[in-house]
């Protein structure tokens, strides 16, 4: 997040940040993994509880099948969604949740501020 004159401008993209650092317009922020983890509101415990609930559903479904109880289409559909959730949990295991405080990057006051940043476009993809 870029701050100009103490006021918030916009989130910086990696390429923008790199450009500003190369032109010495901002300081290189030092962000270690522990800083990011500290700002995340979800930890291993909360994720594990969610996964246990998914596992409990799958276990019940298998048990129903084994005991010849009817399995409904809704349960088949839910099983498919569980699979998608499993894939998402694999790839997003380290994704921080609900980061409320961005890392501030301050514009050096001597230079004139950037005209427009990518995140200031309403529809960035149309550019």
């Amino acid at each position: 997040m870029l701050y100009v004159d103490g006021k918030r401008r916009a989130t910086l993209r990696p390429d923008e940040l790199l450009l500003f650092i190369l032109h010495e317009l901002v300081e290189m922020p030092v962000i270690v993994e522990a800083d990011i983890e500290d700002r995340s509101k979800g930890d291993r415990l909360s994720k594990t509880i969610a996964i246990l609930q998914l596992a409990w559903f799958v276990l019940q479904l298998v048990a129903r099948y084994v005991q010849d109880l009817p399995v409904t289409l809704l349960e088949v559909d839910t099983l498919a969604l569980v699979a998608l959730a499993g894939i998402a949990y694999c790839f997003w295991w380290k994704k921080p949740k609900d980061v409320g405080r961005p890392y501030a990057v301050y514009w050096k006051t001597t230079a004139s501020p950037p005209r427009q940043l990518a995140y200031e476009y309403v529809v960035n993809v149309l550019s």
């Binding site: 559909d77 894939i87 149309l126």
Partner: protein, 187 residues
Amino acid sequence: MFFLEIVLIRLHPRQVDVESPTDSWVYFVVTCIYPFASLMGYRTLNSSRAVNSRRVPSLGGYGENCVYSPPYFRLLIILLIACVAGIAFGGIHCLGWNFSQGHAEQILWRAASLAIISAPVLILPFWAYEIKTDNFAPRLADVVPIVSIVIYSIARVILIVLIFMSFRSPPPGTYDTVAWTNPIPHF
């Protein structure tokens, strides 16, 4: 979603200024399609409220010119994951292959499950082509994802409707719970 993006590009001049974003109808359109377009992973869109948002889009949102990776590479990885997930999703729906609520419903369920599997499969050849040659296959690469997304969406809606239709006559024993103590020896 990509179709909508193309329509938006055609209809609207280059960039929309951020000064009064809520005045623009594009703002509202993008607010509506942004979550879906992001999640589908074909393209990453910034939220129309990106300036005031404190978070980045779910799938990166850095577009094609991210400095840390070759062009398109990030998007292609996301696309591959999405395709594999879609195939798995359809495959699990095939577990309902023999649920019979009626002949027409059964055929529809099978067709929709197969359609969900085949939609991502349609994209995969283009994925391989782009990985190999490092550029977009023209024309066809624009059409196939649209076709694929339309097929997928229709099939998904059909599946959901069929699920709700199956509630008309649930099989007897649906509300019986699993007897967990049965496998344990007891008197």
